[in-house]
């Protein structure tokens, strides 16, 4: 069973529709038992970083998720804001601390006069590492993005960058660190190629 974390922020039903389409059992929940019994976790997110961290704290999800992800090493996928919340800190509506699993910061996209938010379909620069996250996805495929803040590309060995995207600057579109996966675009809203990425995450 896949558990989609309910912290009152996010298009949880859209994610659930996509997961169910792939044939997986799926629950939207913040209940400790359900999260604990799941095979994998998705941390979705449509919201501001500030509200995101506040709600994770409010529902005691910081402790629950730390236990599942850091201690029990359960597989987790962060989508958009959910991915950003895995980082050290974010600057949306003041500086706020994230879950600090990833030694990265979330900053406003330096878009070089391109309009923000970065909203719509864009291509990825996929790094064909040994990891199967983008198996079956072509460099020509586009993914749906919708964000003003991003995780800047960094060349450190803590994690593996799976894909980057460019919008004024290069930023991380997807990464993996052990059991932790993050993706900036919305796979649940990126048609076949998005569903393929979700499938790869579950099967990996």
């Amino acid at each position: 069973m896949i558990c989609i974390i309910d912290y009152e922020l996010g298009n949880t039903v859209s994610v659930q529709n996509a997961v169910r389409k792939l044939g997986y059992d799926c629950k939207i929940s913040r209940d400790e038992n359900i999260i604990s019994n799941s095979d994998a976790i998705i941390l979705p997110g449509v919201g501001s970083f500030e509200k995101g961290t506040n709600n994770l704290k409010k529902y005691n999800l910081v402790n629950i998720l730390n236990n599942e992800v850091i201690i029990k090493k359960k597989k987790i996928l962060g989508i958009c804001l959910g991915f950003q919340l895995m980082c050290n800190k974010g600057e949306e509506f003041g500086t706020n601390k994230g879950l600090s699993w990833l030694n990265l910061n979330v900053t406003k996209i330096k878009s070089n006069n391109l309009r923000l938010p970065h909203v719509g379909w864009n291509k990825l620069k996929i790094y064909r590492n040994d990891i199967n996250f983008f198996k079956g996805v072509s460099d020509r495929d586009m993914f749906y993005f919708n964000h003003t803040y991003c995780i800047q590309s960094r060349n450190i060995s803590d994690f593996i960058t799976l894909a980057e995207c460019e919008y004024g600057e290069n930023f991380i579109a997807a990464l993996k660190m052990n059991n932790i996966y993050g993706i900036q675009p919305h796979p649940e809203k990126s048609q076949n190629q998005g569903l393929q990425v979700l499938k790869n995450f579950f099967e990996n």
């Binding site: 009152e8 922020l9 996010g10 298009n11 949880t12 039903v13 859209s14 529709n17 996509a18 389409k21 449509v46 919201g47 501001s48 500030e50 509200k51 804001l81 949306e92 509506f93 391109l114 309009r115 923000l116 938010p117 970065h118 909203v119 719509g120 379909w121 864009n122 291509k123 586009m142 749906y144 993005f145 919708n146 964000h147 003003t148 460019e166 919008y167 919305h186 649940e188 809203k189 990126s190 048609q191 076949n192 998005g194 569903l195």
Partner: protein, 249 residues
Amino acid sequence: MLAKRIITTLMLNNGILFRSKKFFPDYRYTLNFIDMWSVDEVILLDITRNLDFESEKKNIFFSEMKKISQNSYIPLTVGGGIRKLNDIEKLLKNGADKIILNTISINNPNFINEAAKEFGSQCIVISVDAKFKNDKFYLMEKYGQNKSNYELIDYIKIIQENNAGEIFLQSVNCDGSLLGYDLDLLEAIKEYINIPLIISCGAGNWSHVKDVLEKDYVSAASLTNIFHFTEKSIKNLKQNLKKTIYIRE
């Protein structure tokens, strides 16, 4: 590079799909005509007059919206009747990815900011309804029927200062005309727009769409009427556009 978007806008009146003409429901059609694979985004507007989110009748809309969200793995932007932050949460919980504000942002522009703080500005689209009359564009309210107290340009500045994510620009004059988008309206506002702009109302053929997407300040073109009558129309449109416009194929 970010692709220009082709958006289908659907209007529901008491749960029934309608086209519109000069902002009045014109006539019905069915969802079967919409190609959910070729289009880049769907905008769904509840145009039922004076419908509160707490009303029993609103559930008809929610059930139609669910049907659409369960069958489309593309972004779904939903509007109509939003008055409270709670209404936005309810929409997101039912399959919306972004939301559209209109009346509430005219009555209280600070609401945009409150919503952006909660859901991020990337989630908040503001519908700006304009009408040309006596040599001037006016910001319209109450379903595009009445002039508001704002000057159009002032309002466009105010919503952006309040952290709006995108503008959904509608021309009451061109709605349902099939004669092309309102190019004069675009000219009048272009230098004041700093966020992504979706232009709506008036498309009648492929070249109308090309005309607006060629402009660097237009991020997306919304289509309603003509493109709902043949099944492959959006696919054909994209075939035609891709020679000159960077789009998702």
